[in-house]
């Protein structure tokens, strides 16, 4: 039996974070959490997750900035990052792809979309 894949959830809203954790644990992943971009980079540098779900609008450091910073590091340049956006506005998504996100999914997070994003981006 191989080790559980690690997924980092970056989300400032505590309730939304909890929903994410529920869903990912149900899918059998080890889940790490961070409340903003800065925490995300710290946690990711220590734990090297297999994939990051990154909220975009967050205090302290937003998701775009965090993804850009991640792409500058040796360990983070190829790490799959999926932007999670609460916006119907597409400008946010375009900016996310430009910042280096691999994909994006809308909020409220859809169980099926989470699963297919992971299947696409994480090698089993």
């Amino acid at each position: 039996m191989t080790a559980k894949k690690k997924i980092l959830v970056v989300e400032d809203n505590e309730d939304n974070r909890e929903i994410f954790v529920f869903r990912l644990q149900q899918l059998g992943f080890e889940v790490l959490v961070a409340a903003n971009g800065k925490e995300a980079i710290e946690t990711a540098s220590q734990t090297k997750p297999d994939l990051i779900f990154m909220d975009l609008r967050m205090p302290v450091m937003d998701g775009w900035e965090a993804t850009k910073a991640l792409r500058q590091t040796e360990w983070g340049k190829d790490l799959p990052v999926v932007a999670v956006t609460a916006h119907a506005l597409e400008e946010d998504k375009r900016k996310a792809l430009n910042a280096g996100c691999n994909d994006f999914i809308p909020k409220p997070v859809d169980y099926a979309l989470i699963r297919s994003a992971i299947q696409k981006l994480v090698r089993s």
């Binding site: 809203n13 309730d15 939304n16 929903i19 529920f22 869903r23 149900q26 609008r57 609460a86 916006h87 119907a88 506005l89 597409e90 400008e91 946010d92 998504k93 375009r94 792809l97 430009n98 909020k107 409220p108 997070v109 859809d110 169980y111 099926a112 979309l113």
Partner: protein, 391 residues
């Protein structure tokens, strides 16, 4: 350091903070063109064009804030040039330069959205004052647009965040991850789930319509599979389809249909159409067919239902976009107006067509045709249409 500089020398601060405006002088005569250039050069970045065609070319390359335009030119007429400028970006200001007191063309220019006109030979201080006032108007408009966009983004975020928490937890409850549900509890939660989903859709549609009306909706093109989009959109309606006992089918070519278009917008259009098809079908079936028409450069999406249908005379009325957010909108909300209005407006935005054929009590046939590009570029960021808006 920068702060000290500001206190000691406020003028220097202003000069370094505000970017020089870009002005394009369009005049076929060398004399007025060069003298205007001399006047403006110390304060602005100046571009010049001798012909209308050349002016349009420069507009595509540089971010022009203001154009001075001689309306009497060989080749493309000045009024046509002005039309093209305003088409490209209505916030580009234009000052008409007229010779021989030709008032009628100057007035035509004003009608087309020019800021003002000035007659040759012009006074230096007069033209500088005009240019500065026009630029002030442009800056105020651009600023307002930014504020509007930012406001919409915040409203969207604030409305969707609590809603997504509601939907997220209800779906966790419904999937019985926290505990077993009785049949009654399950039924009640399904109603919460369905209604919060509808509220979310409504919020998205209102926001979408608002950004369409304010005219600052960007085009966002990327490659995607139409079949996959349809499948993902349909998944959201599995529950209501099952509840109603309606048969649902998707017919797609085996290899999928990969296109370059604006996925979020196409998906919203399709979702609104599918939503209506399901909402107004009590029994029978809803089916979706798709195919690519290479000749017409479009993807056709057909949505056929066996629902209540609608009388022919009423079809056009369903599309009537409301001109303003007044009381009449309320009727649209509760009825079927909003989703269809958004679908039609977004389809227009993408340059597509939307046709509805319907017979009362027999059903409705919707044909959506969306133009697509062939996948040549990697993503929407390199689309020139996009760049001209984003800059």
């Amino acid at each position: 350091m920068a702060y000290q500089l500001l206190n000691q020398n406020p003028t220097l601060f202003v000069v370094t903070m505000i970017e020089k405006a870009n002005i394009l002088i369009v005049d076929d005569e060398m004399g007025p063109r060069e003298s205007l250039k001399m006047i403006l050069k110390p304060y602005f970045n100046v571009y010049t064009a001798e012909r209308g065609g050349q002016a349009i070319e420069i507009l595509g390359q540089a971010r022009i804030d203001l154009v001075t335009l001689d309306l009497k030119m060989p080749g493309l007429p000045g009024t046509k040039v002005l039309e093209k400028i305003k088409e490209r970006d209505p916030d580009i200001e234009a000052i008409i330069i007229t010779g021989y007191g030709s008032m009628d063309t100057a007035i035509e220019g004003l009608r087309l959205g020019a800021f003002d006109y000035i007659s040759k030979p012009f006074d230096v201080n007069h033209i500088l004052a005009l240019v500065r006032r026009a630029l002030e108007r442009r800056n105020a408009r651009v600023k307002l647009k930014q504020i509007k966009t930012e406001f919409l983004a915040n409203v969207s975020h604030e409305l969707r965040t609590p809603l997504s928490v509601v939907i997220g937890f209800v779906s966790i409850l419904l999937d019985q991850l926290i505990g077993k549900l009785t049949a009654e509890q399950q039924k009640a939660l399904e109603k919460v789930y369905k209604n919060s989903g509808e509220l979310l859709e409504l919020v998205d549609n209102v926001l979408c319509l608002t950004s369409l009306s304010s005219g600052d909706l960007p085009l966002f093109e990327r490659e995607f599979d139409v079949g996959l989009m349809v499948k993902e959109a349909a998944e959201r309606y599995q529950k209501s389809l099952a509840e109603k006992g309606i048969a649902f089918s998707i017919q797609a070519p085996a290899g999928g249909i990969r296109v370059v278009s604006d996925l979020p917008k196409v998906s919203r259009i399709f979702q609104n159409l599918l939503h209506n098809a399901i909402k107004f079908t009590a029994k029978g079936q809803v089916s979706v067919k798709m195919h690519r028409s290479v000749n017409r450069g479009v993807v056709d999406l057909e949505i056929v239902d066996t629902g209540i249908g609608i009388h022919r005379d009423k079809i056009e009325g369903m599309f009537q976009p409301f001109q303003q957010m007044d009381g009449s909108m309320q009727r649209e909300f509760s009825g079927m107006g909003l989703g269809l209005t958004v679908a039609r407006r977004l389809t227009d935005f993408l340059g597509g067509t939307l046709e509805i054929r319907s017979l009362p009590d027999i059903g409705t046939h919707v044909l959506l045709s969306i133009p697509y590009r062939v996948a040549a570029q990697k993503d929407g960021a390199s689309d020139p249409r996009y760049q001209s808006r984003a800059s």
